[in-house]
Symmetry: C2
Subunit: 303 residues, 2 copies
């Protein structure tokens, strides 16, 4: 099946200027821009863990497989270049499932100018699993790291948080364009995307930077889906916003003056300041007269 | 498990000069050499299809997972730079299996100067599957393609062929160094690695180049394992050399004068001329007084 499928994929592939040799040889060849670093990451999504093939559309699953990787590039402020797709397929209806998943991958690849530069298809006795390696490029020393945050940095978050499991985890927009705008016009000291939950990913950023954070919990942007989920489960919408995984929004830290300019700019994506970094480590809820320590919690992928 | 595993991997990772930011952020950052194209490919190996976890050592399986990808780079004459590893693990003994597989991956990565620049680990209800994306670099327009062969080119093959299933498929040396020596010192017009069988991969190279081949079957280097396998199954050793998959040797085509020089040189790896390309398409066995048409056959991976 793989040979005929790769021929189909070759026909579907848009010609992108960076592709010197596309799918069909032993490897693809990509023209690399002068004086750029390569930024790369890999993520796998699996039926029963990250999606449900019997409930979700294969195109949405394909979108998610690529979008989670694009979200990693956004968190580095890198520009997407190419993706390599490895799909492991249950033997049943393998060709139909593969084609439908690829429709979602190809549409999102087209949206972000990503060349599909490798494809491996394996049929096996296991669940649908899609592993994508994303390749991006960035100016040297310009990538946003988790470790670049400074005490007194403002902490911003994009979009609104929580309840992603209701729909957003399959249909989110990776914040690539937002990251490009911020990178090109402002100073960002550190970034991470929210894959495992706001508090858990904030804790990772703080740990990498040797900082802590004073959070203003009443400023955390709670999504409508966090509200809806709380109606269903009787929980607190804020708890969903703090702990739910798969928001795929960006946490950004920057000097206070930059934050003021960013929040005054119209970037097409809501940004909210949720707190300030401190030299005292840990996650702290800042109340009028005291600080309360928060424990990092959330959903850890991959067990 | 993933977080602690990645921390372990970070500690095991050799510091390679090309790695600006290693595993542990949203993505890795790699310094890219000036004026080089990127060459990339992805291959997955799965328990029950490409290896047997209950019979083969996890380190050998890890070696194979990386080596099949390095073989693709060798077939393009590209230099290895980095690899990203996605492992899907059966829930049982997941940590032990992952660590043992990684021992094999890391040893082979060290042999070839490859930086492990991404790692994803998923535990699931399915067989062990290892998907590796390899990233290499090459001078612009210097990569060997399947499509570059010319009529009258000599056709060379490295090593000896057939019976790989007995042991070689888990323990082969990808022909990266041979390819580098040939690229730096000789003119090679086209190349492909033998993953699915000599005749099948020859047919692909010929089809991509619009050529045919006159094969001298008595010159095909038949491996000792092809002989051994024939003793077991009563078959013809030559048939194993022509059709068995997973030799991971290189098929190379070059002008006749280059072939003479290459065959006279000491490159540390045996090379044999097995035929000559023709403008007449198809695979032909060249006998003293006639040509007999051969059908491409072999083992097609991925069903």
């Amino acid at each position: 099946m793989e040979q005929s499928f790769l021929a189909w994929l070759r026909g579907r592939q848009r010609l992108l200027p960076q592709v010197a040799v596309g799918i069909g040889d032993d490897a693809a060849v990509i023209d690399w821009p002068q004086s750029r670093q390569l930024v790369t990451s890999v993520d796998t999504i699996v039926d029963g863990v990250d999606f449900l093939l019997d409930q979700h559309s294969p195109a949405a699953i394909g979108h998610k497989a690529l979008a989670v990787n694009l979200s990693d590039l956004a968190a580095m402020a890198a520009d997407p270049v190419a993706a390599l797709v490895a799909i492991s397929l249950p033997n049943e209806n393998a060709t139909q499932v593969a084609a439908a998943v690829y429709e979602g991958i190809l549409a999102t690849a087209a949206d972000f100018g990503v060349a599909i530069s490798g494809g491996d298809i394996t049929c096996y006795d296991g669940p649908l699993a899609i592993s994508i390696t994303i390749i991006g490029q960035a100016e040297p020393q310009k990538s946003w790291l988790r470790s670049g945050a400074q005490p007194d940095d403002a902490v911003l978050v994009s979009g609104s948080l929580g309840g992603s499991i209701l729909q957003k985890h399959l249909a989110f927009t990776p914040r690539v364009r937002l990251a490009q705008q911020l990178r090109d016009n402002f100073t960002i000291n550190a970034a991470i995307d929210i894959s495992d939950g706001l508090l858990l990913d904030l804790d990772r950023l703080c740990a990498a930077s040797g900082c802590g954070i004073e959070l203003e919990l009443d400023r955390v942007p709670v999504s409508e889906d966090a509200q809806a989920l709380s109606q269903q489960d009787g929980g607190d919408p804020l708890e969903h916003a703090l702990g739910d995984g798969e928001d795929y929004e960006l946490i950004l830290t920057c000097p206070a003056d930059q934050a003021a300019e960013i929040l005054a700019a119209d970037l097409g994506t809501p940004l909210t300041q949720i707190g300030t970094l401190t030299s005292r480590t840990g996650l702290w809820s800042k109340l009028p007269n005291k600080l309360i320590r928060l424990s990092p919690r959330g959903f850890v992928h991959g067990g």
